[in-house]
């Protein structure tokens, strides 16, 4: 069973695509496009965090008893990425391309390393630990309002 891995990894890809579109637009100082792409990226990312923090992580922690394990590390990284997202939003508001591109470079490293850890380690663990309810997990995450 790899339901959770597939579902959330696809969500990562979706966020990656939006990230790249926003960055490409800002790099060519297309601010109108950049702003809307960034907003889409930010919304998708926060939605993804919510799927994990309010559905997957609690279920994983309850099943495995590991509340200070990998999920705690991932929650900590979410905090850092939320803060970086906020700073990126401010750079967009100020039309400061250099600041945005410096922050997006930083965000990329945080986000992609984080995703790698989730896809290679945490999600497969979750698929194993929650094998009997993986379909239900995915359904709940899908239902979560954006």
């Amino acid at each position: 069973m790899t339901d959770i891995t597939h579902y959330l990894a696809a969500d990562h890809t979706h966020c990656d695509d939006l990230f790249a579109e926003a960055e490409n637009a800002v790099a060519s100082t297309d601010w109108l496009n950049g702003q809307s792409r960034f907003q889409a990226y930010e919304a998708a990312t926060l939605h993804h965090f919510a799927r994990e923090e309010s559905v997957l992580f609690p279920a994983f922690e309850a099943r495995t008893g590991m509340s200070h394990g990998p999920t705690a590390v991932m929650r900590g990284e979410h905090v850092e990425m939320r803060e970086t997202l906020q700073a990126m939003g401010q750079a967009i508001a100020k039309r400061d391309a250099d600041a945005y591109l410096g922050l997006s470079e930083t965000m990329l490293m945080l986000m992609r390393q984080h995703n790698l850890k989730e896809e290679q380690i945490l999600y497969p663990m979750a698929d194993q630990a929650l094998a009997d309810t993986a379909g239900e997990m995915v359904r709940q995450m899908e239902m979560l309002a954006g």
């Binding site: 490409n24 401010q90 930083t106 390393q113 290679q120 380690i121």
Partner: protein
Amino acid sequence: MTVAGLSYEQAPPFAAPLRFFLIAPLFLLLAAGLALFLSDWQSNRWSPAALGLTHLITLGYLTMVMLGALLQILPVVLGAPVPDVRRVAWFGLLGLSIGTPSLALGFMLAEPHWLHAGMTILVAGLLPVIVSIAFGLVRSAAPHVAWPIRQAAFALVVTLTLGIALAGGLSGLWTLPTSADLTPLHAAWGLIGWILLLVIGVAYQVVPMLQITPPYPAWLSRWLTWIMLAGLLLFSGLAQPGWGEAASLIGELAICAASIGFALATLRIQARRRRKVPDVTLDFWRLGMASLILSALLFPLLAWLPDIWQERARISLGLAFLLGFAASVVSGMLYKIVPFLAWFHLKTQTGAKVGAIPNMKEMIPDKLARPHFRLHLAMLILLLPAPFLPAPASEFATSAGLLLLAAGAVRQWLNLLRARRLFLRHGGRLD
């Protein structure tokens, strides 16, 4: 299965990898400087000068950066915590920093005492690192991803063992059997096994990560490094007696084909990247992949070249692999790793807001990294064809190329120092 390693807390403090990264360019500078004054390295790749220079680059520059980066990447990306990482990092750092120049001096002066000293210090320094890394790799939480890196670590052990045998033989500690020429094996395991396999293992993780590219094809990342390892074993003559030569040739061709396959796959996924912003790391990687293809095409052709070009082509091939391929990739990676670690540790240590500390591009701006790339590219354009040019042009191209190599090393060093300076200025601590 352990997941403790996912956390940055399991990674070494910033100072540990940074020391490796800041010492490495000095070895490149030293190699460039010495090469300007020594001349016989161009006429024979096994000459004392060539051996000394090669080890300054492979150990002092490449292995220095690769080990520093591994101690960081293993715990954080592969979930493979390295036991006792702080102390082990010191062993590796001192072993490489002191052992490498001793060894190089031993070669250049044909002085057994320096060879012994270099060999002993290198082994004493690298052994704890290898054992520690091996512990981490065995326990990796992402075993399928860790395989190429395990293979590279294995190759490092083989390289080191062969190196000990050779250095002992050269300095008269023991007599090597005349039937076995271990030198090409030592070189193959070091260059293909350790350097190339490690680059491939790391590329699988970082190339898609940095440019938002599609992943490498699954069959490729599953089998390619095994093919290379099999090629190395064939090349090493593990085949049936009497089949040795044919097996060795098959091994060579397998390695060359796999290298080209890897480089083309990398260029292909990079061409399909979602992230289109100019990126100096991407340029370094593309240059590295082009050089790897050049090396892998040149190698099988060596036997067909006229005699007077044979040795020159081998020198050129060595430069294409070490400076064109490996040094390019390593330089490109440093421009991601160092600014990110400087930012990350500064943020964690000071708890400052994201907007209050320099971001990655401020740590090392493109306008400083880009000149390093240009110097590096110009160096290759001069040095690679230099052995084939007529006498005066050849000497000029070599000297100019070496000056550019030195300038590039200085530029890289200053760029990395800048990140360190900003880190300290904003309240970061290097313990």
